[in-house]
């Protein structure tokens, strides 16, 4: 994608209580960028799936995680990071496999890096998905 023109960062507790807030926020952001209604739904679903996997890694809910929404002229990128890396695939298990299939299908870009931090990156190009 081209150069980032704005970046919006969220610092969140690893709690399921805020999933609705995240879905609402990313929907509003994607709408403001001009994505069409179906693509807004796709982005919302994909973002929520990643948040769910991060939260489910830590049922004790004593950590935080970050989401950086990077706005490009050509699309939207979401970078999720947590320093509470479980040392295992966060998409393991049946639900994890469903989540991964959903994200891969709905987004144009999807990448996971396991290191000291867990970093998950996903992107959606505006392309033909423009409202109008």
């Amino acid at each position: 994608m081209s150069k980032v023109y704005d970046e919006i960062k969220l610092h969140l507790p690893q709690k399921a209580d805020y999933l609705g807030f995240i879905r609402l926020s990313v929907s509003g952001l994607a709408s403001k960028m001009g994505f069409d209604i179906d693509t807004i739904e796709d982005i919302k679903v994909a973002v929520s799936e990643v948040c769910s996997r991060i939260i489910s890694m830590n049922p004790d809910a004593c950590s935080d995680y970050d989401i950086a929404f990077q706005l490009f002229e050509s699309g939207l990128k979401a970078v999720f990071s947590t320093d509470n890396c479980p040392g295992r695939d966060i998409f393991e298990g049946e639900s994890g496999a469903f989540a991964k299939a959903i994200i891969c299908s709905l987004m144009d870009e999807f990448d996971i890096t396991y290191g000291q931090n867990c970093v998950i990156t996903m992107g959606k190009k505006l392309g033909d998905c423009v409202n109008g």
Partner: protein, 106 residues
């Protein structure tokens, strides 16, 4: 928030369940407990009405698969009615449209 209601009027031996609202990991434990209680040992077909279901994530789909496994042990099935297009899309992506019986209308 979600709502799960069992209709006492069974249709052709199916247990009729109406599902409304949003299912994600915040509502999944309650959804799982209620659904599995309604499904029981899985000795009857399940008719799941989803007209009011606005959102379900992979955790919710996994719970539905768990219910399906119970009824399949008794050679029964889960019939899903009135799915919204956005949810039907998730069933298609995950291949679950091939294991559940998705009815076009009811």
């Amino acid at each position: 928030m979600f709502e799960l209601m069992m209709d006492n009027h069974t249709e052709a031996g199916k247990i009729k369940i109406i599902l409304q609202g949003e299912i994600d990991i915040s509502t999944a434990p309650e959804f799982k407990a209620k659904l599995y209680e309604m499904v029981g040992d899985g000795e009857s077909d399940i008719a799941l009405y989803c007209e009011g279901l606005s959102y379900i994530d992979s955790t919710g789909l996994g719970i539905l698969v768990g219910a399906l496994k119970r009824v399949r042990n008794h050679q029964k099935g889960v019939y899903i009615y009135q799915l919204r297009d956005n949810i039907r899309k998730l069933f298609r992506i995950t291949g679950l449209d091939k294991v559940f019986i998705l009815e076009e209308s009811a």
